[in-house]
Symmetry: C2
């Protein structure tokens, strides 16, 4: 741990400034929790009005403390915070947490106050958590630097789950739900307004923390692209699942998020793409977040690791539940593959009325004769070839007349030592029964749909963690000298062609005679387009003519120049672009836009109704490699169009992936200059024949810096 980390998350001494004798108040709760937990470090309550607080001697101010504490917790009104931070800075305190609200989230005045506090801290090398946060806790160190009310009456168990949350209330709720689920917490960090320490930094702490095996995160937006991506990629490379709740996906939610936090919420679709791209899992609901984190924690911590594949075997004693879990498993991307034929035959010998395929339904017979249950389950574990085994036990484990027999029968079917099969159960039973089956190595869920979904998430993590790290060299690109201000289509194509984007061969000519000569050189019918840096939408002014035979090129070019002279008399005309008619292919639309937080992002979709009606597009943060581009291409619903429909062959998806990756590298290398790029359409030719961008537009926008 760095000095900041250990000082903030595992201090050996702390000052509680604004300490209260009332253990239900914000200034009183941390003290009460620390003492209930048996915190072994030195605690210095600071309160100029009292000699003692909750039985501990109190100090008038930071300066009066007998030593420099590792951390200071400021439980003070906003107005008193600046001078307390100054006192910490003066004394050389390395870290401080500010609980109070009333800063950047409250408009101009609050923002100014927060800036002054940050400047004061920065000058002295004092690291700040908050303001407007609920602090931290670290159960293994008995450390509770928080006033969260969920600790009222019950502290936390240490365990493998780390929590980072911008919202203190949400972070508290996650910790509460984890506790109810029997999950221990490694570190819990709430970042509030993030004047200094932000979510990404806290996330990277947990990636480094050996006690943390799984991370639950909550954000409304992030402050810094590079830190955020580095933290996510660090987690992926360390094999630590990040289960993310990102709010603000609805229009109302995004509005409320913007009014609530000082963070700039990146556009939701882009944020979503970044999470997927860097191997994190975005939960849709809090229940899902806990369900997935539970699966991660139990499989990594005690059940032999994430599953290595997606083949699931389902055991049931009631057909209906088996069918339901098969439905849910398929929806979660799992492979409900049948038992091998010999194993089916063997099962049928023992259980003639069973369904031996998968789900394996041993019927109520197995309830009466538990040996049959053991035999069936053992056959599935030993002969099924499954990565995941799931049994449906219903209310059985809670039944006084049935529970002990059932558990013994399952124990008798334990897999061999070293088996990598992940085992899970569904049941509805009291907590002690659940814990008993967990001790036997099972993941336990009440709801089969929640289980199947969480297993699907494990498989996604497993696959994301198995991807090699991208070589940064493949993502970089030499910067070109870019012009200042707008460029014509021809200019944009020249720049992008140098970056590897393929365009049709085309001639820039200055007059109608040149167009005729170019058409003859190209052979066959041509496209003629006006070339002007001042005309972005060429069709609107009559600046595009397609399928012109070579012998009509001169006349058509002359007419176009005359039309444009009328329609856009002030536009600077570079000339005319003459290109061959492009071969047939699948039309796609590719673009780059710049997210205020997450930087340049590449969008991909199919042309026509796919984008215009169905909004069937996908995003990736630039830069990315070809492998990521292939995943991107497969995201869209219309992907089968590229595989070939109505007897058409497969399109050149490999060339498309190369283009997307090249474009992403260009966009990232020039992120300070380029605000947007449109390649519309990009035609994907049949396999082996490449892609062609038929039009290009670069927007140099305003400098974001």
């Amino acid at each position: 741990m760095t000095r900041t980390l250990s000082a903030l998350l595992a201090p050996s001494s702390l000052a509680l400034v604004g300490a209260s004798d009332d253990a239900t108040r914000i200034g009183g709760r941390p003290l009460r929790y620390l003492r209930e937990a048996g915190f072994a470090g030195r605690i210095y309550p600071v309160n100029p009005k009292r000699d003692s607080v909750q039985g501990l001697p109190a100090y008038a101010d930071i300066a009066a403390l007998p030593e420099v504490p590792d951390t200071a917790i400021l439980a003070l009104p906003a107005s008193a915070t600046l001078s307390a931070v100054q006192a910490c800075a003066d004394r050389g305190v390395p870290t401080a947490t500010i609980f109070s609200a009333g800063f950047a989230e409250m408009g101009e005045e609050g923002r100014a106050l927060q800036s002054r506090i940050l400047a004061t801290a920065r000058e002295a090398g004092l690291r700040l958590l908050g303001p407007n946060c609920l602090g931290v806790f670290n159960p293994a160190a008995q450390y509770y630097g928080t006033f969260s009310v969920i600790l009222d009456g019950q502290l936390m168990q240490p365990g493998p789950v780390g929590v980072v949350s911008q919202s203190g209330a949400y972070g508290s709720h996650l910790a509460h739900l984890a506790r109810k689920r029997g999950l221990g917490i490694s570190k819990w960090v709430t970042t509030g307004n993030e004047a200094d320490i932000d979510l990404s930094e806290a996330l990277s702490w947990l990636v480094e923390d050996p006690q943390t095996r799984v991370i639950m995160a909550y954000a409304e937006g992030v402050q810094d692209r590079d830190r955020f991506i580095a933290a996510l990629e660090g987690a992926r490379q360390a094999g630590k699942p990040v289960v993310f709740m990102k709010t603000g996906r609805s229009s109302v939610g995004a509005e409320a998020a913007a009014s609530h936090t000082a963070a700039l919420a990146g556009s939701d679709a882009v944020f979503d793409a970044v999470l997927r791209q860097y191997g994190a899992y975005r939960a849709a609901t809090t229940a899902e977040q806990i369900d997935v984190a539970y699966a991660c924690a139990r499989s990594i911590d005690s059940a032999g690791g994430l599953p290595s594949g997606n083949r699931i075997g389902i055991f049931t004693m009631s057909g209906g539940f088996g069918i339901q879990l098969a439905d849910d498993s398929e929806a979660a991307g799992l492979d409900v593959s049948p038992m091998p034929e010999p194993a089916q035959a063997e099962l049928l010998k023992a259980l003639p009325f069973a369904a031996p395929r998968n789900p394996v339904d041993a019927t109520a017979q197995a309830v009466t004769d538990m040996g049959l249950l053991t035999q069936s389950v053992r056959a599935m574990l030993e002969q099924g070839g499954y990565d995941i085994f799931t049994a449906i036990l219903g209310t059985g484990p809670g039944s006084p007349t049935f529970s002990a027999k059932l558990r013994a029968a399952l124990q008798a079917a334990q897999p061999e030592q070293g088996s990598k099969i992940l085992r899970a159960l569904t049941m509805s039973a009291p907590d002690d029964a659940v814990r008993a089956y967990e001790d036997d190595g099972f993941l336990v869920y009440e709801d089969g749909s929640a289980l199947a979904n969480a297993l699907g998430a494990l498989v996604q993590f497993s696959s994301a963690f198995g991807r090699p790290a991208t070589d940064p060299a493949t993502l970089s690109m030499d910067q070109q000298d870019l012009p200042q201000g707008p460029v014509s289509e021809a200019g944009a194509k020249r720049l992008l062609a140098r970056a590897g984007i393929p365009f049709p061969p085309e001639h820039l000519v200055t007059d109608a005679a040149g167009a005729a000569q170019a058409a003859r050189d190209l052979g066959g019918p041509v496209v003629i387009k006006i070339a002007s840096p001042d005309i972005a939408h060429k069709t609107e002014v009559g600046g595009v003519a397609v399928n012109i035979p070579a012998d009509q090129a001169e006349a058509r070019a002359a007419r176009m120049l005359a039309d444009i002279a009328q329609a856009a008399p002030k536009a600077r005309i570079e000339g005319l672009l003459v290109a061959p008619m492009a071969p047939e292919g699948v039309e796609t639309i590719i673009g780059v836009s710049r997210d205020p937080v997450l930087g340049p992002v590449v969008m991909f979709g199919l042309g026509g109704v796919f984008v215009e009606v169905l909004r069937d597009v996908t995003f990736r943060a630039a830069p990315f490699d070809r492998a990521e581009a292939h995943r991107m291409i497969r995201d869209i619903r219309g992907y089968p169009m590229l595989e070939g429909v109505r007897g058409a062959g497969r399109a050149d998806v490999e060339a498309l992936a190369q283009l997307l990756s090249d474009l992403s590298r260009f966009a990232f290398a020039h992120r300070d200059q380029v605000a947007g790029i449109d390649l519309n359409p990009v035609r994907v030719l049949p396999e082996g024949q490449g892609v062609l961008a038929l039009d290009a537009l670069i927007d140099f926008g305003k400098d974001p810096a």
Copy 2:
């Protein structure tokens, strides 16, 4: 209640055949539960080997009973069941339940045995439940005719929720979850193999039952279309929500379902459509089924009814949770509309740091000063104009230091007597706290996403219940005399035109000269198509020519006849169809297929990639009216194409709806003869100009009877 119903669900006397002295066995459990419940009726254990069973005098057989019992519960092996049914029939017992498996679900032999049992019962007017079922219970009557283990240790509370389930295990699980959620059960019926009484009949009982206000159903398939639809429509008209779990939606699941039950599982998409069409709600997960049923039960039973609109006001003391619930509400189709401006201004006066819009975020200030909470909530209830109010309380109601104040503050903000605003909360707290808030009139959820989703379901029910019943007259259609065997396109069009389906004016001619004359009469370019009952796919044999100028029609027609003579020498040729080129419009595909259980269903989708790549289609069971057709049209993702994209105007959706309804009525009137209809394409012209079916194919298939 009918005699069957009261005899089966509220008997005053019963025989337990195969009664066991061991209270943990199948033949022992019902007796134990009945006695624990204090059942007041007369119980006759039947067991030829014993004088008494669990302390009650036992009888050797049904014949020996001192009276004819209302119902007999047969807890016997499959092999002993037939003679017991015969004994019941001989004695005139009106109803019996068969627990045992080993019948139709177990292949040929079991099916034969089940048929014999049914025949025996039918002859005597004996109604059967099962076999392979878990029976029934009726907590208000202290009646438990079941061996379900979930009653081990805890019986059920009476209440508003009815349960019907083909699977005994699933039905038990639902009852168990309802009990955990504090929901009482009115009637609980499991139907198993459904030799006689099926899910639809049981469903219609609960629709009639005054104690049942909400129904949870589970099915793998249904036996009879008419009974099923009548039960659903009955529930809709009675204002009783049906919350349905239908399994078998995946390929594996459907296969397992077919192997598991004797029911023919209708195709899942069609089943889904029928549920929507008749106002039931299909839950995706069991957790959702309970969450939605809870919302229905609490709102109908104690909170003033279903909400009358979808405007939701959200109160929070923590921004993050508010944003999340706003996201979830929007996703569930709720309207998170802002507070009126004057109310916002008023709120800001009291709480200058609050976000007063919606979600209303009173911030942690309201935690410190509960009067502010009361004031904010009252403002939302009185001035917000909301149909639904939701407050986010987190772990507060479980906190020893906070709980009482919080509840009092909310009570102080009660809406006026007679208010129709549905009120809900999210909180994570022990059961007694939850029950207390329920007593205050709130729906209580732990998870905000689950709450938002359930509220969305309530709004759907409210809207479905508000639809007037369809006048049967608008759904009927006079039957035409249909030909036996295949008809040509021209023949199909003649039949369908009589049913109101619009086709372009077209001429059937017998030779090339006739085609030329027809083209001259029509004016402008024409389409020429071969007319033959033996050629279903005309393009494959050169039987379609489009855009033929009138002066070339004769030559082209002659060539077509020559081509066909070569390509399909044996086909009977009726002649040639000559039609004008149809005006531009939106291409759609409309078809009818016959589901083995649910009968004729109409499919609708847009042409091209929408159907071929995106499978963007929707179904309705025939017949349906124009209003339903409008809902159907709006189901598809590509619907905006009909509203007009790329500057195109709106298409004639009204005419399209009329066509769909007419086709559905034709398909239903001729359901015994017509196996399939293809109208591909159907061109939807601009608004006011109608639709045109450009091709038609009728498949007379085999008679399903």
